[in-house]
Amino acid sequence: MQGNRACCEGALAAGCDFFGGYPITPSTEIAEMMALKLPKAGGTFIQMEDEIASMGAIIGASWTGARSMTATSGPGFSLMMENIGYAVMTETPCVVVNIQRGGPSTGQPTMSAQGDMMQCRFGPHGDVATIAVVPSTVQEMYELTAKAFNLADRFRVPTFVMSDETIGHMREKIVIPEKVDIVPRKPLLKGKLPFEADEDGVPGFAEFGRGHRVHVTGLTHDERGYPDTTDPEVHEKLVKRLYNKVESKRHEIADYDAVNTDAETVFITYGPCSRTVRQVLHDHPDECIGHLNLRIVWPFPEETLKIFANAKTFIVPELNLGQMVREIARHTTGEEVLSMPKIGGHIHTPAELYAAVEARK
């Protein structure tokens, strides 16, 4: 099955019932598949006039209780930033799939890249915290897309599937589970205000049309949802809560594989680069080469670095000029951090990566 199709299948299995999108290479198969499958599954597919509109539509749909989603690539992702910020501020659950291609600008529409990793973290204006999953196989594309819906609903944040052209267009055998866990959105309980958080920092959801009479605004608002744009305390309390409800749970949200945890040289990868590292480990089974494959990169699971207690060097191959490596370096305690950037559309070869290990001997 193709990666982009696995994304659709995972979404449908997770109960996705609204898709708003706009065609863009290399993500278009997702919209095409949703156009084919969603109406038959009782959901709604709508092709919007641009990606700004797609993002607006999935937020609107989400407030009616829909599990909503869009899919795009770099140029569309840039357009979505405005309303992604709105979704953060209004705590609207939604899933945004970015099948990354070479940028900046129109760049390389058909080539693979991971250049949007910082954009998905810091793209909207203001302080935000969101969640990003990254699949390294078609199987993970299915599972992580489904998981993204649960994370979006649980934390009430836009959740990104930060895949890329390689995984999106790859065909691999996958095993479709009989059932995907669906954790529904926590509803607003009687007596609670619509933006009054529970202990976990997340308020119950006041779905439209259920008599909650909720006012939703991107302006700084109080627990009633009413705008209060000049009181510093109201703003600080709100934005810190929106930030901490995700960041404080990063350990719990973390999803990764750690291999050869006593290694001195450790690769840290996400997405297609993880495949190359797996090949290196496969080709050199007698050498103790560590590997941390991150399935969730934001919130960054900084605690996972400590798993490699003997690590002297972290090597970070990425399909960009070095983005996540900065975050990794920020959390290391004296270990060498080696960036292995690569752009242009091709992934690293196993030989390239192994050469970096040899150089450390």
């Binding site: 709604t44 006039e49 700004i52 991107g218 009413y226």
Partner: protein, 265 residues
């Protein structure tokens, strides 16, 4: 217009509102509420959606579920709400800048899709919230903070735009014509497909005081005397006679039954 019967539609705990003294937006809100009441819509089945600007603050004062969105994008959010749950009644409040400048593309596509919702545009011919910059609806020669020597660009005719783009019901009235405006909105609410109601409103703070309207009522009086019934405009056109300067057409521009999207199942 008496307001007491409509109290249930407003959030009293949100008062006082932010509109300036003499603003026409409240009049349009009352007309909209009266129309909704005439339709016997329920508060809990009705969603008011808006973008950014003075007009877009309206849903914040309504006691329904309401969605105050990003600048120009209200129609995209409203599209998502209505397509995901056609059982909800959706009304969008927008302004001339919100609908025709930053949201122009969304506006024409919402009309083209003919999604079953009513869009009420409070056209004050200016960006009021940001202090009076020229909009695509600021008439040629008029003064704003970004057209200090007089606006030079031709204006958008929003009603004609909505007709051309495919909306099922299009009307224009003013904050002076409250009965006609209410009726037009009510017809809009009852019409399947997209209804676009343009309500010309006075803006004494950002527009009027820069353009020789000393009082809010002066601009209301100007609207009364410069509004020409659409039928008369058409007749003048047929006779090859000019439309008097600075006058504008009011009335029902179109009422039709093109196929609509997002219709209640």
């Amino acid at each position: 217009m008496t307001t007491r019967v409509f109290e249930k539609w407003y959030r009293e705990d949100r008062l006082p509102h932010i509109f300036c003294t003499g603003c026409g937006n409240g009049t349009v809100m009352n007309c909209a509420i009266k129309a909704v009441e005439e339709m016997h819509w329920e508060i809990d089945d009705t969603i008011f959606v808006s973008g950014i600007g003075c007009s877009s603050r309206a849903p914040g004062y309504m006691s329904t579920d309401s969605l105050h969105t990003t600048h120009g994008r209200a129609l995209t959010f409203a599209t998502g709400v209505k397509m995901a749950n056609p059982d909800l009644n959706v009304v969008v409040f927008t302004g001339d800048g919100d609908a025709s400048a930053i949201g122009g593309n969304h506006f024409i596509h919402a009309c083209r899709r003919n999604i079953d919702m009513t869009v009420i545009c409070m056209n004050n011919m200016i960006y009021g919230m940001t202090g009076g910059q020229g909009s695509p609806c600021t008439p040629v020669g008029k003064i704003s903070t970004t057209t200090p020597y007089g606006a030079t660009e031709p204006v958008f005719d929003l009603a004609e735009l909505a007709v051309a783009a495919g909306a099922n019901h299009v009307a224009r009235w003013t904050s002076y014509h409250t009965k006609e405006l209410t009726r037009a909105i009510e017809t809009g609410l009852a019409t399947e497909g997209l209804s676009f109601i343009e309500a010309m409103v006075q803006c004494p703070t950002a527009y009027g005081r820069r353009n020789k309207f000393r009082k809010a009522t002066d601009q209301v009086e100007w609207m009364r005397t410069h509004a020409i019934l659409l039928q008369k405009v058409r007749r003048l056109e047929e006779e090859g006679k000019p439309i008097p300067e600075e006058h504008f057409a009011v009335g029902e521009f179109v009422h039709r039954q093109r196929p609509a999207m997002g219709v209640r199942r």
